[in-house]
Amino acid sequence: MNLTLRIWRQNGPTAQGRLVEYRVEDISPDISFLEMLDVLNENLAKKGEQSVAFDSDCREGICGMCSLVINGQAHGPERATATCQLHMRKFKDGDIITVEPFRAKAFPSVKDLVVDRSAFDRVLAAGGFISVNTGNAVDGNAVLISKDRAERAMDAAACIGCGACVAACPNASAMLFVSAKVSQYSLLPQGQPEREKRVLAMRKAMDAEGFGNCSNETECEAACPKEIKMSNIARLNREYLRATLLSE
């Protein structure tokens, strides 16, 4: 298939960016979107032009490194699919495809389609962990967890930290990501000792990064490649309210 790409090119963090048009030809419908960009970059390299910078790592939908807003949709048109798992057969021959970076004040531009998502790392460092004393490993079955809780915690833990929720949110809010991280611990016994401290600290770190405020638009849920649910955001609100009232 032959395609016209309009790709956001930006030379550096403070440079003025703009959409630049490229043609790619004979693209196999079986390759992924990122492989199609690899083809474009090879063509550019042959012509001696600067290749397009974009992020990726595992290319199997588990690391959260790929990004991109494709035709106005974070991770492209498919539901529950990261850009690296998006195949060209989802597009038609002759399509014009606009590719932009994830845009948010808290995700400053690095170059072209690459943005700095380390804000997420700082929010995690503030409380996205449990503290465990060293010593003998505890017996695996000593702490009972109901199947239902374990499932919900696992669902929340599926978040790969890609940032599509921020990119898709009209307010650039990070609530879906933070709520997934708070939920995965608050649902499990291991998360209880630091339950209040965690949510208070992660809330503070989240606000300090300059993300917007959630207005329950649900665009995050629709864009999330791991189908993290809005109910986690409700839980984060609940956990925060609870911690505000209970912590001494």
């Binding site: 898709a168 989240m206 959630c214 849920e221 609100n237």
Partner: protein, 215 residues
Amino acid sequence: MRCLGDFFSSSIGRKISVAAAGLLLCCFLITHLAGNLLLLAGEGTFNHYAEVLEANPLLPAAEIGLALIFLLHIMVSLKLKYENRRARPVPYVVQKGKGGRSWGSRAMLVSGLLLLAFLVIHVKTFRFTEHRESLYRHVFDAFQNKVYTLFYVAAMIGLGLHLSHGFQSALRTFGVGHSRAMSAIKRTGLILSAAIAAGFALLPLWFGFMAGGAR
């Protein structure tokens, strides 16, 4: 309780304040609507209701409370919206989304501002005004102005839109939002917002267009 200061400066805490004020305003709207509908019961009944209400010594305190709730809702929600704009300084060239947003959620700011404009005019027309003869007559006369009547109805459509998103959003903000409860909450919100908007819009339509010679 040490973190109460944190709460009111935090994103979530301020969201909860807007939602609490919004839900209190919904409660007010329901009582207000119930009172208004007495207009349909005739001049005597409505004027009697108005007299009893105005004779209540606690009314001024309630009015001040209501004004403060409005003020809180408006100021905090506008601040949140302003911050949201700033959270994405470079806009998308193409923005399509994946179908999460509703008409109501898109229109929150516009419908809110329409309600604010309506509120100012509404309070001026019906609260800070002299109605020596009868409040019923006063309402009747006000709705003979077709432009005002249509503006009133438009504002009520705005109210319906505002609440169609606002009600369910406020409950989510309070932490109610299991996947199973949510569909019931959404349905309740839609029915409630349609009922409130239609109820309020009924009166200007009735007095402005139907009950023409009934005075």
